[in-house]
Structure formats: C-alpha cells, structure tokens
C-alpha cells in the first residue's frame, strides 16, 4: 500500500518529466489526490523496501558489503535483491540481463557498482552497462560534487551538480569500418533527448533551489550536433525565468574548473563531456571514492558512485573507499522517503571523515575499508523515534 503510494508519486514525477508539454514541474501539484490514490500517512518503516543490487566488477562487491553492513547496523528497512552481472567475469548473458531488468522494473530503485567493459568485443559494440541504461531509459546522470568537511583539497567548499545525458551522444555504439583502416563513429544528438535532459536540469535546479544552469558544448566546431543541443537548452531556459542560463565551451570549462570552479552551479551536457567533467570534478574534491551519483529515468532510479571506475587494482586488498557508495546509498534512502535513516547514514559518514582519525588510503590515511566501516557503524547515532 505504501509502496503503491510511493509508486504513484514516482509516476506523477515521471509523467511530469517525460511529458512533451513544456510546463515547469513546480507549477504542477505533486499531490496524489488527483490520481485516484489515497493520501498516504508519513512514511514509517512498517514494511521493508525491496531494492535491486548489482555489485558489478572490481571493488563493487566490497563496497556493497560495506553498504549492507552499515544498513544492518542502522536497522534500515531495506531488503536487497542481488544479481551478479559481469561482462569481464563471463557472468553475463541475455537471460541474466533480463532477470536484472525485471527485478528493477518491479522494485523501481536499484543500487549498483560499475559493470566493467572489456576492450575486446564479441559481436555487439554496446556494453552491458550501456544496454542496461538504454533498456531502462536512464537518461539523466546526476553527480553531486561536494567538498567533504574536514578533508581539504586544492579547492575547498565546492558545491556543484553535474547533469549528463546518458543515452545518446558519442556513446551510441554505432561504428563501422568503411574501408580497411578508416573507421567512422557516429555521434547522434536528437532534439527530443536534448530537450528532455535540459528540462530535467532546470527542474532539478528549481527543486533544489539552485540559481544557475550552465550548458557545456562544443558548438563552435560541431555546429549542427552541439548546436542542436544548445538550441534545446536555450528554448527550455526561457520557461524558467528565475534560473540564470549560461553556456560555456568544453575546453574552456575544463580550464575554468581547475582555476576557478566556484563560478559554476549546475552543469548540463551531452554524454562524453559529462564523462570528462564528472571525473574532473570528482578529482577536485578528493577522487572517485568520494563522489556519489545517481541515474534517473522516467520511472526508475539507480544509485551508484559519481565517477564510475571498477578500480580493479584494489580488489581483495581492502583499501577501497566506501564513502561514495555510502553517500549514494543515503541518497537512495532519501529517495524512498526514509529520511531519518538517510540522515543517520550520511551524518555518520561525514562525522568520521571530519574527525580524520580513520581514513582510507585515497584520502591520505592508512585504514582499511573494514576499519572505516566499523568507525561509521560506531558513529551511527540512534535516536529513539
């Protein structure tokens, strides 16, 4: 019942996002009464939520263990349905993919690690990760770049959001060798998807109270493709007069990010540039172990790390930093309206990092992953309801 009500609110959100009508989301009421659903009482952990979990490759399984340990200690009412899908470990097949997809369609929420793409391909050019994204239509990837309190880098007090279109662009997997030694790779930009991601970006900015959206492009060289993207963003910008809209070229953007990243607020961009900027910005605040991210489609939400690397060198050595995955798991809890548990997990993580005594190797410390998880568990503050 509660799950159904939740699904109802998700559906409303989704309908607002994917509608061709270009109405700002804030103008629509998100109440459920107009949709034949009964007003649900505030969320109480009466029943457990089912979440699909795909650990992926590299340190994915270790990070997932960390999440499960913390959730168990915090008494979080979430039950994980695990699927081991992996291209490099030969645990991938069409049936496995179908299983994962149907589980995700049931649960609507998932948490996953990186499914590594081997460089040699057998048959299909699209990797499993790309296919998962396309089948679920996870078009928007949101990465939260926030400086961690207590851990200083060259640029402190950063607070950026990077929104990246995830289904088309340079990752269309459409390549062919026309003549031996000449390869063409197609980059596809469509007006519909550009509009969709632009609308998502502006809606997100409105919802989170952000003041500026910057579109990143290379339309001076790719005049038609990125030109179309820019045009769609500009059209959408007119519908949101309260939000400032700017554009910047990708190479200048990279330069500005290392010289003065504070001028940016929300960034929106097509696929490849998103990959570059995600990683660049993650490096600015502390690396791939620190930045959470999520992918949204009209109906589903998948939570993962911001910079997606399998980090195969660290497998089995107990050195990976679970901060990113834990912060992402906390975002997931907020998404399914478990606000209390979400805050508990994220506060514990931030407290441990701020104290600085227990830190993994990438943040300059000597602790192992398990030490770090233990410290977090110790810092979970249970407050009686």
């Amino acid at each position: 019942m509660m799950a159904a009500a939740l699904r109802g609110s998700l559906v409303t959100l989704a309908k607002g996002l994917s509608a061709a009508r270009l109405q700002p989301l804030c103008a629509r009421s998100l109440s459920l009464t107009g949709q034949n659903f009964v007003e649900s009482p505030p969320a109480r952990a009466d029943s457990t939520f089912k979440v699909t979990m795909v650990p992926g490759d590299g340190v994915g399984p270790e990070l997932m263990t960390a999440v499960k340990d913390v959730f168990k200690a915090a008494d979080v009412p979430v039950e994980f349905e695990e699927f081991h899908l992996s291209e490099v470990q030969n645990m991938a097949s069409e049936e496995k993919l179908e299983e994962v997809l149907s589980s995700m369609k049931n649960n609507r929420v998932a948490i996953k690690g990186k499914i590594h793409t081997p460089m040699e391909y057998k048959g299909e050019l699209a990797s499993y990760e790309m296919r998962l994204r396309r089948k679920l239509d996870l078009f928007a990837n949101v990465v939260h770049v926030n400086s961690l309190p207590g851990y200083s880098t060259r640029h402190n007090n950063l607070d950026l959001v990077i929104i990246r279109e995830q289904t088309e662009g340079e990752y269309s997997s459409l390549e062919h060798e026309s003549v031996s030694g000449v390869v063409e790779c197609l980059k596809i930009i469509t007006r519909e998807k550009s509009r969709r991601i632009a609308k998502f970006a502006f809606d997100y900015a409105t919802k989170k109270g952000r003041s500026k959206v910057t579109a990143v492009h290379k339309a001076n060289i790719m005049k038609l493709a990125d030109g179309l993207f820019l045009q769609s963003c500009a059209e959408l910008a007119e519908l949101y007069p309260k939000i400032k809209y700017e554009t910047i070229i990708i190479d200048n953007c990279c330069m500005q990010l290392v010289q003065n990243p504070y001028q940016f607020d929300v960034l929106v961009m097509p696929n490849l540039y998103g990959n570059i900027i995600d990683n660049l910005a993650a490096g600015l605040v502390g690396g791939a172990g620190v930045v959470p991210g999520e992918s949204y489609s009209a109906e589903y939400a998948v939570f993962e790390t911001g910079a997606r690397h399998p980090f195969a060198q660290a497998v089995g050595r107990n050195i990976a930093n679970p901060t990113a995955m834990l912060l992402s798991a906390s975002n997931m809890l907020r998404h399914i309206n478990l606000e209390y548990h979400s805050n508990m997990v994220s506060e514990a993580v931030k407290k441990v990092i701020k104290q600085g005594k227990v830190r993994t190797r990438d943040l300059g410390g000597y602790s192992t992953t398990s030490d770090f998880v233990r410290a977090i568990v110790a810092n979970l503050s249970h407050r009686t309801v």
Partner: protein, 366 residues
C-alpha cells in the same frame, strides 16, 4: 687559375646535386629566416616584443612578416594569400600570433585554413609550472600531443531527419600511426621517459580501438620509451589530483583539445602556454593560443609570455638550444621577480616594461 675556377664550379654543381637529399635540421650555421604572422588585436604588440627580445639575445633569426587574411581564390575556395604560402613553404618554420575569426565573414576559421594548407597534423603543448606564477598545482611537467586533422573535428555533420543530427568521428590508420610516431620521436628527442595513449576504447571500441592498436604497434619500434595507455576519464581524475605522474600524452583530436586546455589551466591559463603545430614536409608553426583581446589592443598592456615561450619552443625545434635556454631563463626570472608583471599575471606594468626587463636580463647573461 682557370682550372681552379673549373674545379670550384664542378664542386658547386656536385654540392647542389648532393643537397637534393633532405638536410639534417642543423640551422646553427648562418641566419635562419622565419615567417612571422603577427595576427590581430594584441598580436602586433606581442610580436614586436618577441622580436626585440630575440634581437637582444642576438639569436640568428631573421623575420619575414606576412599577413594571412583569407582571400577568395578562383572557384570561390577560400585560401591564404600566396605570398604567405610561398614564404612558409620556403622557410618551413613560422611563428603566429592570435588570429580572430569574424563570425559572419563567410570563410572558415583561419586556424582551420592554415591547418589544411600545411597539413599540420600534430599539436604539441608542453605544460610546465612557472615558478613565479602561483597556481594550486606546482609540479606540472607534461606535454600533450594531439592529432590535429581528423577525429571528432572532421566537420562531417548532417541532419538526418528534423530533430536528429549525426556527427561523424573519423579515425584512420595512417593518421593514427603518424601521430604515434611523432609522439615517440618527440619523447626520444626531448629525453622524456614515457608516452601515454589517452583513449576511450571501452566505449568507442572500433575507432579508439584502432587508434590504440596503432600506438601499440609504433611503441614496438621505440623500446627505449615506456608506453602506457589510460582511459580519458581516469586521466582527468588523476590529472587534477596529481599531475606529476604524467609525462607525454598522445591522443585523438577532441580529447587532445580538452586535455591540452585542462593542462593549460593547471599552469595558469592560455596567457602563459606555448604551443606548436607540426606538419608534413618539415613545416612547423608555433603559436600563442590565447585570443586577440581586442579590449586591450594597442594599449601596451598585453602579456607576451605565451608567444615568447612558443618562440623558445621554435628555437629548440631548430636546434638552437643555447639561445632558447637564455631567453626562457630570462623570462622565468622576470616573472619570478614579480616586480614588473603585466596585469593578467597580477602586476600593473606595461608590456614594454616587461619586455625591456627580459631584454636586460638576456644581455646580462652574455
């Protein structure tokens, strides 16, 4: 006497026949002529500054100034003026200031035109932290080598249906091999320890896969230089955390554009970054990559560092290492001193004062 004259004629003829074979690049004898393209905006002032400094250093360079405003040739094709082309073909080495591309001029960008005319296939940008100019990144010493002719910038785009645009990224075996060979040769000639190929072959498996395969093949012939490969996102992630781990980076067009600007940002921006374009047939054009800054043009406020460092790169390319070292050290000393910096470096001196200081140091060094 007649015998002597006959012998000298014969030796001259034989000498002329011998010089049909390509000469090694030792310009240390005699004065070398270089084509100078001042450019627009602040171009003329910084070019004058560079010429002054070279004169103070007594470098054996003679400048030939040319203009490259595009003219429309027969058949409506845009091209650079013939005097400019002839001068470059003769001298082979050029130094270029910033060029502006007017938006509605109807002709393609000047840089694109130059690139196509001389087949400038490699763009080389060494990024070294400047001691006097503080940035959060202090130990940068890397070189980005970018393939400049194909890749994502092939300019082949079309609207398939209304609302669907396709842009083609072209990777060919020849271009990939050529840039890889240049990168390894550069590493060998400049005593660099390793070359890293930057790619995204996990996503663009065929195109970047081909690029990577060619790099691997070329690496086999250069066993004295270490070869590694890294994904583009990993490079970006590590570059902003610890840029000292990188040495020479070679990559296709788009990644090169982004990474070279990223590295320029690490050392202080485009106002202090040199750049060189290497073409087929021994042609090389060194340039400053910043804009024309029309707002400060003519006011003696410009910073000639980028063009000066590019000119130093040119001297090294020509083998005139001692002059290069002299000028470069003087430039770095002036910046480190911090007394006479131009506005963009944080001071409030004029361009001429900055230039004079460098000239003085160069003369003191003799």
């Amino acid at each position: 006497m007649a015998g002597n004259a006959w012998r000298s004629t014969v030796s001259r003829v034989i000498g002329a026949i011998k010089t049909q074979t390509p000469q090694p690049r030792t310009f240390s004898r005699g004065i070398q002529t270089v084509t100078l393209i001042p450019g627009d905006g602040i171009g003329p002032e910084i070019s004058t500054a560079v010429m002054k400094i070279f004169e103070a250093a007594k470098a054996p360079i003679q400048w030939e100034e040319r203009n490259v405003t595009a003219i429309q040739g027969p058949g409506g094709k845009w091209m650079i003026p013939s005097e400019a082309k002839e001068s470059m073909d003769k001298n082979k080495i050029g130094l270029k200031g910033p060029l502006k591309t007017p938006i509605a001029a109807g002709h393609p960008s000047m840089n694109l035109l130059l690139r196509k005319t001389f087949d400038l296939y490699a763009n080389v940008r060494p990024c070294v932290s400047i001691e006097g100019y503080k940035t959060p990144y202090t130990d940068v010493d890397l070189v980005t080598i970018r393939e400049n002719t194909e890749g994502e910038y092939s300019g082949i785009e079309h609207v398939i249906v209304d609302g669907v645009v396709q842009s083609i990224k072209l990777i060919t075996e020849d271009a990939s091999r050529r840039i890889a060979e240049y990168a390894f040769e550069y590493a060998r000639n400049n005593q660099r320890a390793s070359v890293t190929a930057v790619h995204k072959a996990n996503i663009m498996r065929m195109s970047d896969g081909l690029f990577l395969r060619k790099c691997r093949e070329v690496a086999e012939n250069f066993k004295d230089v270490k070869f590694t490969e890294m994904y583009l996102d990993t490079v970006c992630l590590n570059m902003v955390q610890d840029p000292s781990q990188f040495d020479v980076l070679v990559m296709p067009n788009l990644y090169g554009d982004i990474l070279s600007d990223l590295c320029a940002g690490l050392i202080g921006g485009l106002g202090v970054t040199p750049s060189g374009n290497i073409g087929a047939n021994g042609v090389a054009i060194f340039e400053s990559v910043h804009g024309t800054a029309p707002d400060i043009a003519g006011k003696d406020l410009a910073n000639p560092t980028a063009l000066l460092l590019s000119a130093v790169m040119m001297l090294r390319h020509m083998g005139l290492h001692s002059y290069a070292k002299k000028i470069e050290t003087s430039c770095y000393d002036t910046i480190r001193d911090k007394k006479l910096l131009t506005k963009d470096l944080g001071g409030n001196s004029k361009c001429s004062e900055f230039t004079d200081d460098i000239c003085r140091r160069v003369k003191d060094m003799e």
